[in-house]
């Protein structure tokens, strides 16, 4: 695990101290927030989310150039992401009618919970500014990448190709996610697993699957 945690001097002193982690993190925040800000201008009744998105852009840039001290990056970026989610939810539910008399409208509860989430997210992020916290563990690329590709590949293949090729190929893609994979062993396992799934889902559970590609 030790190589996963890279020691970084981030957040040790305020002022203009640019480090790569916060530069990347802050820029991602700023770009995403800018995108949501632009989107909000196309949707009516979005004064508050516009303000939130603008605030996030400022926070992102401030973190990137080192004006904003980042003592607990996990909390700061975590909290910022929650505020961002709340912003998106507010924009997305802006067109829904709200309270009418005593009755809640469809938009009341989503907006209510979005505000709560934004407030809590801001509190978490503030904690990340002031309280010392561990650095963010390094994101690995290989494992998540191949696992996600395998799942997406399955989703794409299942309709046109059928169960057998989709299962087999998804299995073969996902084994690439581990550094310990061996080809022959994996091939045998993939065949075995495909057979097992066909037996279980198609013959035992009688689910309507198409097994092979249709031409």
């Amino acid at each position: 695990m030790s190589d996963g945690v890279s020691p970084s001097p981030q957040g040790t002193r305020p002022g203009f101290s640019i480090n790569t982690h916060n530069l990347i993190g802050g820029l991602i925040v700023a770009v995403l927030a800018l995108f949501f800000l632009g989107w909000a201008f196309y949707v009516p009744n979005t004064l508050i989310p516009r303000f939130l998105a603008a605030a996030l852009v400022v926070v992102g840039i401030a973190a990137a150039i080192g004006v904003l001290p980042v003592h607990g990056p996990r909390d700061l970026y975590g909290g910022v992401a929650l505020v961002m989610l709340a912003t998106v939810a507010l924009i997305a539910s802006a067109d829904l009618p709200g309270q009418r008399g005593f009755a809640f409208g469809p938009g009341t509860a989503p907006r209510l919970f979005s505000f709560v989430l934004a407030a809590i997210g801001a509190a978490v992020a503030l904690g990340g500014v002031f309280a010392e916290g561990p650095p963010i563990e390094k994101y690995r690329i290989r494992g998540p990448f191949f696992v996600i590709i395998a799942i997406l590949a399955f989703a794409v293949m299942i309709r046109p190709l059928g169960l057998v090729p989709a299962t087999f190929l998804a299995f073969m893609v996902s084994i690439l996610g581990s550094t310990e994979m061996r080809w022959i062993e994996s091939l045998i396992a993939a065949v075995g697993m495909t057979l097992f799934c066909v037996l279980l889902f198609v013959y035992l559970l009688n689910l309507p699957f198409q097994l092979w590609p249709r031409f």
């Binding site: 975590g78 929650l82 709560v116 996600i148 989703a155 998804a170 994996s186």
Partner: protein
């Protein structure tokens, strides 16, 4: 009392149906399997098997899923004792003394005490579920929408307080879950909410997709990051399964205390088997005459937590079956399973579907009996399973999950949504957010909104109704007090210590 007995009799009648016995056995077997294998959690497994239960009759499906939960508690101890890796989060603490016993050549007694303790706890918990079912249900029938809303708030707060890590972040996760649950059509007006005009989102985000993404896929990605561990399986043959008389005498008290503590923690919303096992171990160590023996192969250190986790696994069904409120993530999945079969969890289950209610309870006892039989003589078989390398296990889990999700609605979009939630789950862990409170919030979201809306409508828009109705006021103030206590610096430090230990 006689009513209880006649109800239980009916339950056994249902559970003894050959098909139901088969499902119970299947659940117990699968549960033991995932319990033994480290890296596959109960939540992920139940999420994985949800689609498979579609075709089954509801009673059989729920009996099987319940079997997986308590079966995993049995299986987890085997890995803890023999390999010193917890097979389940609930048996982390069993590693401490269990593995030490194995090193001293007493793996047999450790395993059998764990099984005996679990069985005893299972029996007591079964009776408890049966006995508490009726009175709690009648209380639940007094509840109006305001009370229900407050009760759910209390349940979520319990979950937050008992989750590990920051309380604030756990609350954030609950609210995130609530918000996510609102995607889809509005309950009353049918207006599409936050659907981005995507037809696939009109029905909301599927519960199984979220669970499988956050718990299944994210867990795999996370496990892939860990270095391949060298599993030092105790190679020596396990000789003499039977514990000595002295072992039995030593552990009798620990089993009883563990069962009691576990049952209590299990009933609490937000509680569950993990916390129960930790609490029981800590308690045992506190009251021991010689605490230094713990960690060096004290049999009480195996007996107490293993009894506690099994007791808690079963009593956590109480709030689900009587109030319709899932106390933890596994129970949240059970809600999903019940809804799939058109059963709304809550007090009405007992009156409208007595076969289901009592059959499930009776099957718990039968399942526990089966587990003792499965576990002890077959220990060798389970251990050999540990030799299956993770590099072959995880691709199998992935394709299995994919097929499972796809089969729910025959929709490739669902698979993509699960993949997205896999990424979200991975990100959450990197930022110290616990996914379990999010799942709870997600499940309770629609119920909470419905009751909130109804309560407000009945009270003519007066929000103070939650504090003027007595039961609701008590529930809400308990929630607030809990939250304040958990936030106090002194308690917070103690809480951190408990979780670190």
């Amino acid at each position: 009392m006689s009513e209880l007995l006649s109800n239980l009799w009916m339950g056994f009648h249902v559970a003894a149906n050959p098909f139901n016995i088969l499902f119970c056995l299947l659940g117990a077997l699968v549960g033991t399997l995932v319990g033994v294998l480290p890296g596959i959690g109960t939540v992920a497994t139940i999420a994985m098997l949800l689609p498979i239960t579609f075709g089954l009759p509801p009673v059989g499906a729920l009996i099987m899923l319940a079997g997986i939960y308590y079966g995993a508690q049995y299986g987890g101890s085997t890995t803890s004792v023999l390999v010193n890796i917890p097979g389940e989060a609930t048996s982390v603490i069993t590693c401490l003394d269990g593995h030490q016993m194995a090193r001293q050549g007493r793996a047999g007694p450790a395993l059998s005490i764990a099984a005996i303790g679990s069985f005893f706890a299972g029996c007591v918990a079964t009776v408890l579920v049966a006995a508490l079912g009726a009175p709690l249900t009648s209380i639940a029938l007094l509840f109006g929408p305001a009370e229900y809303f407050s009760l759910m708030v209390l349940g979520l707060i319990f979950a937050v307080v008992l989750a590990k890590g920051s309380v604030l972040k756990a609350v954030a996760m609950v609210v995130t879950g609530l918000l996510l649950s609102m995607v889809g059509s509005d309950l009353e007006t049918g207006a599409g909410r936050m659907t981005f005009d995507m037809a696939e989102l009109a029905d909301g985000i599927g519960f199984a997709n979220v669970a499988m993404g956050v718990f299944g896929f994210a867990e795999i990605v996370r496990n892939l990051e860990l270095p391949a561990e060298s599993r030092d399986i105790v190679q020596s043959k396990i000789t003499g399964l039977m514990p000595t008389r002295q072992d039995l005498i030593d552990s009798a008290g620990a089993i009883a205390r563990g069962t009691l503590l576990g049952s209590l923690v299990g009933i609490l919303p937000g509680g569950g088997a993990v916390i129960a096992s930790f609490a029981a171990y800590t308690f045992e160590k506190k009251i021991a005459k010689d605490p230094s023996r713990f960690g060096r192969g004290a049999i009480q250190g195996v007996a107490a937590p293993e009894s506690a986790n099994n007791a808690a696994a079963q009593t956590s069904f109480i709030p689900l079956l009587t109030l319709g409120i899932p106390p933890n993530a596994v129970m949240a999945l059970m809600v999903g399973a019940m809804t799939i079969h058109g059963i709304v969890p809550g007090p009405q289950v007992m009156t409208k579907q007595p076969e289901l209610f009592w059959g499930m309870i009776a099957s718990m006892w039968l399942g526990n009996l089966m587990l003792v039989v499965i576990n002890l003589p077959l220990v060798g078989v389970w251990v050999s399973l540990l030799r299956v390398p993770y590099r072959l296990l995880y691709p199998s889990i992935i394709v299995f999950c994919c097929i499972g999700i796809y089969s729910i609605n025959n929709s490739p979009t669902d698979v993509v949504i699960a993949a997205i939630f896999g990424i979200i789950g991975y990100w959450l862990v990197k930022h110290d957010f616990e996914p379990a409170p999010m799942l709870l919030g997600f499940v309770l979201g629609p119920l909470m909104e419905e009751n909130l809306r109804r309560a407000m409508l009945i009270a003519r828009g007066d929000a103070t109704v939650f504090f003027t109705r007595p039961i609701s006021a008590v529930l809400l103030s308990t929630a607030i007090i809990l939250l304040v206590i958990a936030g106090l610096p002194k308690i917070r430090r103690r809480r951190d210590e408990v979780f670190v230990e």
